[in-house]
């Protein structure tokens, strides 16, 4: 690759002012190329943009279809009776899902009791004692959050059901708690990080007991993020089915199991119940998610 231009070579060697003329020639080449190619470049760009934009309705369509179907089919089933009456034997009309609602509530309560305090203290540990151990825990929490819920269900089965030989809501709550834990730990730690370090050290320098300092300063500042993160984790856990398969007595006692069961039954009655329960579940998840984000928003505005 010689520096000499082809013209120079043709003319037998470099000439004094060649550089400036070369510049002009190259300038012309670029300008011409830019002008001639702009239309093609723009059109290609627009075509690709259209292709990308088409993906958006394609991606949203299933969600919209699902929501519409659930509302349309579920609305017919849901009523005050539906929510407050216990189920009737299959084939018998009437009855509701009250047992399932209560059962799900109980399970989630156990899960919260396990995961919330644990999540807080683990996050505090990660926050205050950074190091190799903390990195290992953080990494494994991230990997744990990718473990399929069905495997966590089997774990709960092994721990509780095998040993005690009966299924229970505690076992189910344990499984859901384990599922929620990594998310809560992540969210809590992130929330604590946004609390200014100066605040922490300032609190300490005032001579308060260390644990009291940590609790009041860090937690108060991190409260919005912690509440939001935990609420969102609960919203996700509420919708889990697989762990409950191995740990809950009967589908009548958990909403998600009920849907799963009734979906495969040939009776239109059962399917109707399934839609209704699905609608209730969806509404619950929606309320939890929206509450979580609203909490974050309002508490953020207050502390700013």
């Amino acid at each position: 690759m010689s520096m000499l231009s082809s013209v120079q070579v043709a003319l037998g060697g470099p000439m004094p002012d060649m550089g400036l003329v070369e510049v002009a020639r190259r300038r012309a080449v670029v300008r011409d190329s830019a002008r001639r190619s702009i239309r093609r470049r723009r059109m290609t760009g627009h075509a690709m943009q259209v292709i990308c934009l088409i993906a958006v309705p394609i991606g949203l369509a299933p969600l919209v279809a699902l929501l519409i179907a659930t509302v349309a089919k579920g609305a017919g089933a849901v009523s005050i009776d539906f929510l407050t009456h216990a189920p009737t034997p299959s084939g018998v009309p009437g009855g509701g899902i009250s047992t399932a609602i209560v059962g799900s509530g109980e399970i989630v309560a156990y899960a919260i009791a396990l995961a919330v305090p644990l999540g807080l203290f683990i996050a505090l540990f990660l926050f205050e004692r950074p190091g190799g151990v903390a990195s290992a825990i953080r990494f494994s929490a991230d990997v744990l959050s990718g473990v399929p819920s069905i495997i966590v269900g089997i774990f709960a089965y092994a721990v509780f059901v095998e040993r005690f030989h009966h299924v229970s809501n505690v076992a189910a709550g344990f499984a859901l708690g384990v599922l929620m834990l990594p998310i809560m730990v992540r969210a809590n730690e992130e929330a604590m990080r946004t609390v200014s370090i100066d605040l922490w050290e300032a609190g300490v320098s005032l001579g308060a007991r260390r644990s009291r300092v940590a609790r009041s300063v860090v937690l108060r500042g991190a409260l919005p993020g912690v509440v939001t993160g935990n609420l969102l984790a609960v919203a996700r856990a509420v919708g889990e089915t697989a762990p409950l398969l191995f740990t809950v007595v009967s589908p009548a006692f958990a909403m998600t199991l009920l849907i799963f069961n009734d979906a495969t039954e040939p009776f239109p009655d059962a399917q109707q119940t399934a839609w209704g329960t699905a609608l209730v579940l969806l509404a619950l998840v929606l309320i939890l998610s929206v509450t979580a984000r609203t909490v974050a928003w309002t508490l953020n505005r207050k502390t700013r």
Binding site: M1, M3, S5, S6, V7, A10, L11, G12, M15, P16, D17, M18, G19, L20, V21, E22, V23, A24, R25, R26, R27, A28, V29, V30, R31, S33, A34, R35, R36, S37, I38, R40, R41, R42
Partner: protein
């Protein structure tokens, strides 16, 4: 002007008068590249930048107002002043980068005779005539050194490999980087040192053979040795390109520029152009009291 089938005759170029030789060669090149000969002679040709009553607004905030400034062709014009006076905004108005930052530009900006914000102007084609070097070196991290240099050519549709190679090599020479990178052209660009990366960015800008080169505090992230090399480069390049250099370093402006434009914050915190003129004049005998205060360090 262009005659088909004319055979180039090297013999006719061996006259003793250098100017005649150049003019003959211009004619030859003209026939080869199909352009009028006088357009090819850059000694009479060069593109300056003219700003006429330019004001730039971001949303409701007026950043800089009523800038009227001429940047002469093939000279270095320095825009100096403390931060926040709008120097960078003015620079970016020239190659219409404000189309994407949400800045509204009022007034007229001309590249040579062309109204940059005119209705028929396509920004991409406009930008192929203007090169830009940014404050922190920003070579494309996923490209090799040589691919970085020719990236601008590729963006503009130049495809012939021979041409790309030729122009890439020339640009690396012009940026005084060839000897350093000639053995590792396909290595990732990010492995160069800061100063070398900045020269790579200059080479990248030069490869499209711009008429104007905009430089936004190009040395502010570099050490003194690298800075000196780039200042050298700037002086050297100005024989071919018009250079607009934003710098907050007055000494750099004094070392490198032919014309200097001083920007300061007005009383209402809006940037404005306070004085413009030949570098020696402005620094030795400033006309405006504010300039004097700035130059002697009382302000800014």
């Amino acid at each position: 002007m262009k005659r088909h089938g004319e055979v180039t005759n090297p013999a006719s170029n061996h006259s003793s008068d250098p100017r005649a030789r150049v003019e003959n060669r211009s004619g030859q090149l003209a026939r080869e590249s199909k352009l009028p000969a006088d357009r090819l002679d850059p000694r009479t040709h060069g593109t300056g930048v003219t700003l006429d009553n330019v004001s730039i607004t971001f949303g409701a905030h007026l950043a800089v107002r009523n800038v009227t400034l001429q940047m002469p062709a093939r000279q270095v014009t320095a825009l100096v002043g403390p931060s926040g006076c709008g120097k960078t905004s003015v620079l970016r108005a020239i190659n219409r980068l404000h189309d994407h930052t949400g800045g509204a530009v009022r007034g007229t900006v001309r590249l040579g005779n062309l109204d940059v914000y005119g209705p028929d102007v396509q920004p991409e084609v406009l930008r192929s005539r203007i090169g830009m070097v940014f404050q922190r070196p920003n070579p494309f991290p996923t490209m090799s050194i040589f691919d970085n240099v020719i990236s601008g050519l590729r963006f503009n549709g130049v495809r012939k490999k021979r041409l790309l190679r030729e122009m890439g090599v020339a640009a690396l020479h012009n940026a005084a980087l060839w000897d350093i990178v000639k053995d590792r052209l396909d290595q990732p660009a990010v492995r160069l040192s800061g100063g070398q990366q900045q020269r790579l960015c200059i080479a990248r800008a030069l490869a499209i053979e711009p008429e104007v080169l905009l430089m936004d505090e190009p040395c502010s992230a570099l050490d003194p040795v690298a800075t000196a090399k780039i200042e050298d480069l700037i002086r050297h390049l100005s024989s071919e390109v018009t250079i607009a250099l934003v710098t907050h370093n007055m000494f750099q402006a004094a070392r490198v520029s032919d014309t200097v434009a001083v920007f300061l914050l007005g009383d209402d915190r809006i940037g404005e152009l306070v004085e413009v003129g030949p570098t020696d004049g402005v620094f030795d005998t400033p006309s405006d009291a504010r300039t004097k205060a700035y130059v002697t360090g009382h302000v800014g």
